[in-house]
C-alpha cells in the first residue's frame, strides 16, 4: 500500500495535469461522485463534522491499528475534498496518520483557492481524523 507521502505526491501530480481551476473543480467533483456511498446508518449526528457550512459526515473505524475512513457531504466539492483526505489517510497506520504533515493543499494551490469557510471545514475534518488516530494508536 502506498504511503501517505506517496498518496499526496500522486494528488499533486494529478492536479498538475489540470491547469485551469474549472477543470480542477470538475476533477474534484468526479472524485466525490466516485466515492463509495456512505451507508445511511453512518449518517448520524456523531459523525457530523462541525465547522463546515455544508453537512459533512465522517465515519471512522480502527482496524488492526489502521485508520479506516468513509465520508459523504451534500456539497459535491466538499465531498471531493473529503475524497482527497480519504485517499491520503484511509487504511494508513494510526501512527503514520499522527505524524503525517499535509503538504498537498499548498502544493496543489487548493489552500489559496478554497474560501476560508470551506478551508475551515477541511481543517475540522483533518482535526477529527488526527484525534481519532490518537485513540486508534492507543487501542493497538
Amino acid at each position: 500500500m502506498a504511503s501517505i507521502r506517496e498518496n499526496q505526491a500522486e494528488i499533486v501530480e494529478d492536479f498538475s495535469f489540470l491547469p485551469q481551476w474549472d477543470e480542477r473543480y470538475s476533477y474534484l467533483i468526479e472524485l466525490g461522485q466516485k466515492m463509495e456511498p456512505l451507508p445511511e446508518a453512518f449518517k448520524v449526528e456523531d459523525n457530523i463534522v462541525r465547522g463546515c457550512q455544508s453537512t459533512v459526515w465522517l465515519h471512522r473505524e480502527c482496524r488492526d491499528g489502521r485508520v479506516i475512513l468513509e465520508a459523504d457531504s451534500d456539497s459535491l466539492i466538499v465531498k471531493g475534498l473529503a475524497a482527497l483526505l480519504m485517499k491520503v489517510f484511509s487504511g494508513q497506520p494510526a501512527e503514520d496518520v499522527l505524524k503525517a504533515e499535509l503538504t498537498f493543499f499548498e502544493e496543489t494551490g487548493l489552500d489559496k483557492h478554497l474560501s476560508s469557510q470551506r478551508a475551515n471545514g477541511l481543517m475540522a475534518m483533518i482535526e477529527q481524523i488526527k484525534t481519532f488516530a490518537v485513540k486508534c494508536a492507543e487501542e493497538k
Partner: protein, 407 residues
Amino acid sequence: MTIDSDKIRSDFPILKTEVNGKPLVYLDNGATTQKPQSVIDTIVDYYTHYNSNIHRGAHHLSNLATEAHEEARKTVQSYINAASNREVIFTRGTTEAINLVAFSYGEAFVNPGDDVIVTEMDHHSNFVPWQMICERRGANFRTIPFDKNGNLRLDVFEKLLSEKTRIVAFNHVSNSLGTINPAKRIIKMAHDAGAAVLVDAAQSVQHVEHDVQDLDADFYAFSGHKIYGPTGIGVLYGKESWLDAIPPYQGGGEMIDQVSIEKTTYNKLPFKFEAGTPNIVGPIGLAAAIDYLNTMPFEEIRAYEDDLLEYGREQLLEIEGLTIYGNADQRTSILAFNIEGIHHYDLGTLLDTQGVAVRTGHHCTQPIMTALGISGTVRASLALYNNKEDIDALVSGIQKVRKMLGE
C-alpha cells in the same frame, strides 16, 4: 433615465479587475460594496496631508483633521436628515451601533418581565444583542414571523405589542430576502404602544428612503462599507432626547467631561458615546461616498436598481429548477435562490471560477433558513454599478455550472 452605467462603472477602479482570467462580475454588494476613486483618493489624501489626532491637538494638522471629521458628521446628518449633528454617533459599524443601543437602552429602560421585539428576518447582528440584553435584564425576547413570500406578519406584531413592550428592532431591508419592510407603519405601531424603535438600515440606507425624521425612527444604524465607503466606520443615529436619556456604552478618553476619583461626568453629545481615539479617517471616507451618491438624484438611483432587480428576477426564473427566496410586495437589491440538485456552496464556488462573485450560506440569518427549511442560498446582491451584463454573466455562469455538474 439619467443614470449612466458606463460612467459609474468607470468610477470604481476595482471593477476592471480580472478573477481567474475572467472580468470580475461583482454581485456580493450585500456583504460589502466597492469604493469609487473619489473615496480612495480622499483616504489617501488624509494620510498624505493631514493625518493627526482630533479634538485636542493644539496644532495645524489636528485642526484640519478635526474639521474634516466633524464636517463628515454634518454630511451624514444631512444624508439621513437628522435634526442635529449631535444625533450622529460614529461607531465601528452597524453591529456596534446596535450593541450600543441594546446595552445602554437596556440598562436604562429594560426591566424584568418587559418585552423586546425583533423580527425573524433580522440579521444576527440585530438579533443576538437583544437576546443578550433580555437574558441580562430578565426580559422576554419576542419575534415577528414572516409569511412564505417574505412579508412580515404585522397581524402577529400587533398582538405582540403591549404596555410591556420596551423596544422594537427590525431591519428596514432584509439582507437575505430583499424585503423592504413597511418601516413607517411598524414605527407608528410601536410608538402607539409606547415602545422605542431601532431601525437596522445596513441594507436600506443605500437603496431606499433614509430620512430618519420622516420615518420617525428613535435609533437608526448603518455601516459605511455597504454604502461605498470604507470599512470600520458605522453610524448610529439617535433622537437627542433618547441619547440624553441612556448611559454611555464604553468609558475612556473623549467621552468624559471631568474625571476625579470621586466622580466622573460625561461629555456632551455626540462625544458621550465615542470613547477613545475614534476612526478618524473613516467618517471622512464615508462623507466622500455620500458626496459621490449625492451627485445623482436618489430617485433615479432607486429606479435604476429596481429595474435591474426585476430584470435579474426575470432572467433567473427562466432557469429550470431555480427557486427565488424573497417575493415580498416591496423588495430591493437581493436575488437569493437555489437550484434543485445543486448545493449552494458548489454553485458559488464554481461561479467564482468564472469571475462571478456571489455569497452562499445562511447570510447570518439562521432563523430565516430554519423558517424556509433550507440550509442556505446563493445570494447575488446588487449595487449602483451593476448592469444587465452582470446579470447575463450570472445566468450564463449558472448554465455552465450545470454542464460541469452533468445536470
